[in-house]
C-alpha cells in the first residue's frame, strides 16, 4: 500500500504547529496504524529528519497510552484503539489526516503527544477507595449483587485514553469522569466515599478546563471500550444525590 499522510508537527508545547505531508510506501494491510507510523519514522530518521512523536505502550488495546485523531475520528474509523487499528481499514492511495487530541486540558507536548495529566488529577480527587492495608479479606465477606458487579465492570473497562474528550465537540470529560465514578460508587467498597468522590471529581474536572456536556453522544461513539452514554446520566444522578446529602 502507498499512502499520503498529513501529520500534525509541533516542535514543543510553546511552538506553533502545522500539518506536514509525507508519503509512505510498502505498507502491508496487516500492519497496525502505529507500525505504519514506525515505518514513516524509520524513513524520516534515514533522511536525517526528526521522527514524528506519538504516544504508545502496550499495543494490545488495554493500556490507554495511544491516541491520535485519524481523519477526524478519535482512534480512527474502527471502534478500537489506534494500536489495534489495522491498515486494511484504509485503501491504497488514501490520504490520511493524523492529529493529536484537541482540548485545552490536553496541551500538546510535541507533535501528536498530549499531556493527559489532567485525567490523573481527576482520579486523585476521588477515583480510589480507602482501605485498611493487610491480608486480603475473604472473597465472600462482602457480597455484591450481580447487576451491580456487571455495572461496575462495564465502567471499570475505561482505560483513560481520552478519546471521549477528543471526540466531544465541546472537549468535555464527562464520560471519563462518569466511568470512574460509577465504577466505584455502585460497589460496597466505594460506599464510604460515595458522596465526596462524585463532588470532588466533578469539581476537579471543571477546574481542569474541560468543556460542558451537551449530550451529543460523540464520546460514547468514539470510546474504544464501549462506555455507554447513560454513564453520564448515572453520574448526574449521583452528583444530585450527593448535593442533597452533603451540606457543604
Amino acid at each position: 500500500m502507498k499512502l499520503k499522510l498529513r501529520v500534525w508537527r509541533q516542535r514543543d508545547a510553546g511552538a506553533s504547529g502545522t500539518m506536514a505531508t509525507y508519503e509512505v510506501d510498502g505498507i502491508s494491510p496487516d500492519m497496525s496504524f502505529l507500525e505504519m507510523l514506525d515505518t514513516l519514522n524509520e524513513d524520516l530518521i534515514l533522511r536525517g529528519e526528526d521522527p514524528v512523536a506519538f504516544d504508545h505502550d502496550c499495543r494490545e488495546g488495554i493500556c490507554g497510552a495511544c491516541s491520535l485523531v485519524i481523519n477526524g475520528d478519535a482512534h480512527g474509523p474502527e471502534r478500537t484503539t489506534t494500536c489495534q487499528l489495522h491498515m486494511r481499514s484504509f485503501a491504497d492511495g488514501d490520504t490520511i489526516d493524523v492529529e493529536p487530541w484537541r482540548a485545552a486540558a490536553f496541551p500538546v507536548v510535541k507533535d501528536l503527544v498530549v499531556d493527559r495529566s489532567s485525567f490523573d488529577r481527576i482520579i486523585q480527587a476521588g477515583g480510589y477507595v480507602s482501605v485498611p492495608t493487610g491480608a486480603a479479606p475473604e472473597a465472600h465477606a462482602t457480597p455484591v449483587p450481580k447487576p451491580d458487579a456487571d455495572f461496575a465492570f462495564e465502567h471499570a473497562e475505561c482505560i483513560g485514553c481520552g478519546a471521549c474528550v477528543a471526540a466531544c465537540p465541546n472537549g468535555s470529560a464527562m464520560l471519563f469522569t462518569s466511568a470512574k465514578i460509577n465504577h466505584l460508587n455502585v460497589l460496597p467498597q466505594g460506599a464510604p466515599e460515595r458522596e465526596t468522590r462524585v463532588l470532588d471529581m466533578v469539581a476537579t474536572m471543571d477546574e481542569e478546563g474541560f468543556g460542558g456536556c451537551t449530550l451529543t453522544g460523540e464520546c460514547a461513539t468514539a470510546c474504544p471500550k464501549g462506555i455507554p452514554l447513560p454513564s453520564i446520566t448515572a453520574m448526574n444522578k449521583e452528583w444530585l444525590r450527593a448535593n442533597r446529602k452533603v451540606k457543604r
Binding site: 477526524g72 471526540a167 465537540p169 468535555s172 468543556g211 451537551t214 452514554l229 447513560p230 448526574n236
Partner: protein
Amino acid sequence: MAVSGLMMLGYLAAHVLGNLKVFFGPQEFNEYGHWLRTMGAPVLHQEWALWIVRIGLLAAVVAHGVAAYQLSRRDIRARPVSYAHKRKRASYATRTMRWGGIILALFIVWHILDLTTLTVNENAQPGRPYENVVATFSTWYGNVIYLTAMLALGLHIRHGFWSAAQTLGAGSATRDRALKAAANGLALVLTAGFVAVPVAVMTGVVS
C-alpha cells in the same frame, strides 16, 4: 438548562391546547382569550394570574439563555485549536441547538410584538385574538416566520427533552429508548399542534 427548559415545555403544552381552540370558532377562542385575563379570579385580581405566568416564563427564558451562553463559552474555550479534518458531529437536532435557540429567542420577540402588544399586527384589535391570528397568517411573512420557528422548536425539543432527562439523572440504559420516543413524540405533537393553525388559515378552514 434542564429545569428552565422543562418549565417552558410545560407552558408550551398548555399553549398548544389553547391554540387549538381556534378550530371552535371566533366566539369560543375570544372567550378563552378573555378568560386568560380573569383566570384565578376572584382569589386573584384581574390579570394577576397572567402576570405570574409571564414573570415565571421570563425568568425561565432568561435562565435558559444565560446558561446556554455560559455553557457555549466554556465549550469553545475547552477546544482552542480545532481539527484540520472536519466532519459533521452528532445528529442534526443536536448540532442545531445553539442556532435553533437563537431563532426561537428572536421568534418570541416577534410573536409578542405580533399577538400580545399587536405592534406589528395587520388587524391589531385588542380583545379580538381570533381576528388577529387570522390576520397574521394571512400575510406571507407571518407564515414563513411562524413555520420556520415551529420547525426549529420541534428539533430543539427533540434533543432538549431527552437531554434534560439525562441532566436530571432520570435516564438509564433500559429507559433510554422510551425517553427518546417520548422526546420525539413530544416534538412531533407540539410542532404539529402549532403548525395546524397557520395551515388552517392558509387553506381557509379558519377564517
